[in-house]
């Protein structure tokens, strides 16, 4: 459902919610944001809960950093403690840490909502048409996305070759020394690939500053207006309700 919306309208709505999550230091607000987004993703978009949880792992690790910092070095996060002073939770340190933790998760959930419901191609096309993103940068983004799986495959090939020489199967997760030794060959591969892709695009006529058609560019419609307005209204309603509840 959300995937049919204009990517830039959706981006604006998501950025607003992320900004609100950062600015409003209220555990209830963060919790409400996380639950609402999760409901939209699972119920409306039919995305597996497991996938969402997996996507939240880096955000959770990031948030845990805040939580532990708040618990161990409470005096140094004075602002957070003062803000959390109104929280219903007993321990100020824990309350502040939990709010910071949920803030990271809320930002992650809103980002996931955008990423999981937006076609990257449509997004880049919308940027080029509506926000005048130069096509050179737009198509560089595409190439970079294409490069990621190729880099992973290349890294696996190099790891297999080295494991063969070492006489043991490769480990699932490379150690720090192995990772460091992969940097130079992968960088060389990425530079070579990027150069070739640039040449191929130039050969197909991608010029720096000439007018070009963009087919199938997303168009802003009444559905997008409705989404942006209702998203803003929901945000305002939530803020007012929380203020009223004290």
């Amino acid at each position: 459902m959300l995937s049919r919306l204009h990517p830039l309208g959706k981006l604006a709505a998501c950025m607003t919610w992320i900004a609100a999550s950062i600015l409003i230091f209220d555990l209830r607000f963060q919790l409400a944001t996380v639950i609402m987004v999760a409901l939209v993703l699972v119920v409306a978009e039919r995305i597996s809960l497991l996938k969402i949880l997996a996507l939240m792992v880096p955000f959770a690790l990031f948030g845990l950093g805040f939580l532990t910092t708040s618990l161990l070095f409470g005096r140094e996060s004075d602002f957070a403690l003062r803000m959390a002073g109104e929280s219903p939770l007993g321990s100020l340190q824990f309350s502040a840490g939990l709010t910071l933790f949920l803030r990271a998760i809320a930002c992650g959930m809103v980002s996931a909502l955008f990423a999981l419901t937006t076609d990257p191609g449509a997004f880049v096309r919308a940027l080029m048409v509506s926000w005048r993103l130069p096509p050179r940068f737009g198509y560089s983004l595409f190439s970079a996305m294409q490069l990621v799986p190729d880099l992973a495959e290349q890294a696996q090939q190099i790891r297999l070759a080295r494991a063969m020489k070492a006489g043991r199967p490769p480990r699932r997760i490379p150690g720090p020394f192995e990772l460091a030794s992969l940097v130079v060959p992968l960088l060389a591969f990425a530079i070579r690939r990027a150069g070739r892709a640039a040449i191929a695009m130039e050969a197909r006529g991608l010029a720096p500053a000439t007018a070009r058609t963009v087919i199938d560019a997303p168009r802003f419609g009444w559905r997008d207006c409705f989404f942006v307005v209702s998203s803003a209204a929901l945000l305002a309603l939530l803020i007012v309700a929380l203020r009223a509840a004290g």
Binding site: F142, A161, M164, A203, G205, A211
Partner: protein, 553 residues
């Protein structure tokens, strides 16, 4: 069939005059001086040994060299009578469509429809026109309409190559340039690509570089041959060049089509046809027209020729050295792609591994070598070594000598010298492995695997890909020597004639398992199996059938 010769008064769409290219920090020219022209409506095949500058010459055509790839270019290059340097490379996209060897080089990771529309969007054509042209290009290449919205990243290698071809054809440029378009494709996909590439479009000129000549050469109007110094050593009609310059081509290590090699054999016996043949069928029709005694003599000389291109009697020694039992194989960190695999290989055996792009051959090879853990079943036997498709992936040191020394730990320097000498790498000992040509890299990769005899089983993944005839001959010789030295060898290849010549036994991989395991000649004669696996019969197959028929008469 080649098109009719173009009228001489028409302006050549592309011209190189006294063109010489020298790369930075190089003390000699990479190409040239070269004088060459592409004529209106002509299909020109550019041949040359590895490193002769074929790709360099193609890239000068729209100014990619020197504009995007730094080099010093002398001489004049013109497109449609206009000097090429007058525009930037992107300014020639309306005139020249370029099809690269690697589809990933052409595609940007968008949807199929966007990839095909890309060049047309750059020309600012109306959206409706672009949509019509995209549909037309997809129909021409045979891409299903429902693929429009598919991401190209989800396609197999062969499918990506077809999308890249559709994207290039959609440009509708009067000049079409293709640089080794079939180097990494399975036979059926390569044949399809050749057919599409060489479809006659009025007014379009085609310049193609390719090593796979059988199936292609019959549609070519003219051949130009670059020598190792990057200078033209022969040009002319394909039949004439392959007959009259064949000694030059052989000396330079350039591939010749099978029909040309048969022509040479018949010529030595005084039985060559009056008109030089380009297809094996032409040779066979000539043989059928010979008087009975001459046909008998021709049969004798061609039998000897065919014997050289057939696998030797199996020399495998003793019990299997490595066995897979009911194995489930998966790429590293990937899902299971092959199930129920039962396979064994013995010392001094060369096993061919055949199959379409993406069938799982490389995964099976690495599993057989013990490099990938099985998801099910069992593997018995010692670890094996793998020569990867990209040999540079297995180089870890700063010089050829160090690579060999690393493969022979604890041995005296003189033994490293011996290994370098036996693999003809002495002169390159102090070069960085990445500086070597593709053939030299493959030789070094094989040398490091064979040196010290650490791995009794060797898996060679596409050992001939991108090599010229001389490089292929050299690699083939080394594989035979390794077999005679007692190694068990698995050869993963898309070259059916190579498999037939080298491998007494082969397996065909497809449909998530092993489709067939048996004598290579029998497998490659099974048309149903070949169709099912996306393979084609070897170029020599019609001759083998003719010889059988002749023997029966």
């Amino acid at each position: 069939m080649p098109s009719a010769p173009p009228a001489p008064d028409l302006q050549a769409p592309a011209v190189w005059r006294a063109v010489r290219v020298r790369y930075p920090f190089s003390d000699r020219s990479g190409v040239g001086p070269v004088d060459l022209e592409l004529r209106p409506g002509e299909r020109l095949l550019l041949l040359g040994p590895s490193g002769s500058g074929k790709s360099t010459l193609l890239q000068t055509l729209t100014g990619i060299i020197p504009h995007s790839v730094p080099a010093h270019v002398e001489g004049d290059i013109e497109l449609g009578g206009e000097p090429v340097p007058r525009r930037k490379p992107y300014g020639w996209a309306h005139a020249v469509a370029q099809f690269f060897q690697d589809a990933d080089q052409t595609l940007c990771g968008m949807r199929v429809e966007d990839e095909i529309a890309f060049a047309l969007e750059n020309r600012a054509l109306p959206e409706a026109t672009i949509c019509a042209k995209v549909g037309e290009a997809m129909r021409r290449v045979g891409l299903p309409e429902e693929w429009r919205g598919r991401r190209t990243m989800t396609l197999s290698g062969g499918e990506k190559q077809l999308v890249a071809l559709a994207a290039t054809l959609a440009q509708e440029a009067p000049i079409f340039v293709a640089d080794e378009p079939t180097a990494h494709l399975a036979p059926e996909a390569a044949n399809r690509l050749h057919r599409l590439l060489l479809e006659q479009i009025p007014g379009q000129s085609i310049l193609i570089v390719d090593h796979r000549l059988d199936g292609l050469i019959g549609s070519v109007d003219r051949v130009a041959v670059l020598g190792p110094e990057g200078m033209l050593v022969a040009t002319g009609m394909p039949a004439q060049v392959f007959r009259h310059s064949r000694d030059t081509l052989d000396a330079l290590g350039i591939w010749r089509p099978l029909a040309s090699r048969l022509d040479a054999v018949l010529d030595r016996a005084g039985l060559a046809p009056a008109h030089p043949p380009l297809a094996v069928q032409d040779v066979l029709e000539h043989l059928d027209r010979l008087p009975a005694s001459a046909r008998k003599r021709a049969g004798d000389v061609l039998s000897s020729f065919a014997a050289e291109h057939m696998p030797p009697a199996s020399s495998k020694g003793g019990d299997p050295i490595v066995r897979l039992v009911d194995a489930a194989c998966a790429p590293f960190l990937g899902p299971t792609v092959l199930r129920g695999v039962n396979l064994d290989i013995a010392p001094r055996e060369v096993l061919g591994m055949l199959g379409a792009n993406g069938a799982g051959k490389s995964t099976l090879g690495a599993s057989l070598a013990g490099l990938l853990k099985l998801r099910g079943g069992a593997r018995h036997g010692p670890a094996g070594g793998v020569a990867f498709q990209r040999p540079e992936n297995q180089f870890t040191t700063g010089s050829v000598r160090q690579e060999i020394a690393a493969a022979l730990p604890g041995v005296h320097a003189s033994q490293v010298d011996d290994a370098l000498r036996s693999w003809d790498l002495e002169a390159l000992a102090h070069h960085h492995p990445f500086e070597l040509s593709q053939g030299q890299k493959r030789r070094l990769a094989l040398a490091t695997l064979a040196a010290g005899g650490r791995w009794p089983l060797l898996v060679l993944d596409e050992p001939l890909a991108g090599l010229d005839a001389a490089g292929s001959e050299m690699v083939t010789g080394h594989i035979e020597a390794m077999r005679d030295a007692g190694f068990a060898i698995v050869v993963i290849t898309h070259d059916m004639d190579f498999a037939l010549r080298l491998c007494p036994r082969s397996i065909v991989v497809g449909e998530g398992g092993i489709l067939a395991d048996g004598p290579t000649r029998e497998l490659l004669a099974d048309k149903g199996l070949l169709y099912r696996a996306g393979l084609c019969e070897p170029a020599i197959a019609p001759l083998l059938r003719w010889l059988e028929r002749a023997a029966a008469c």
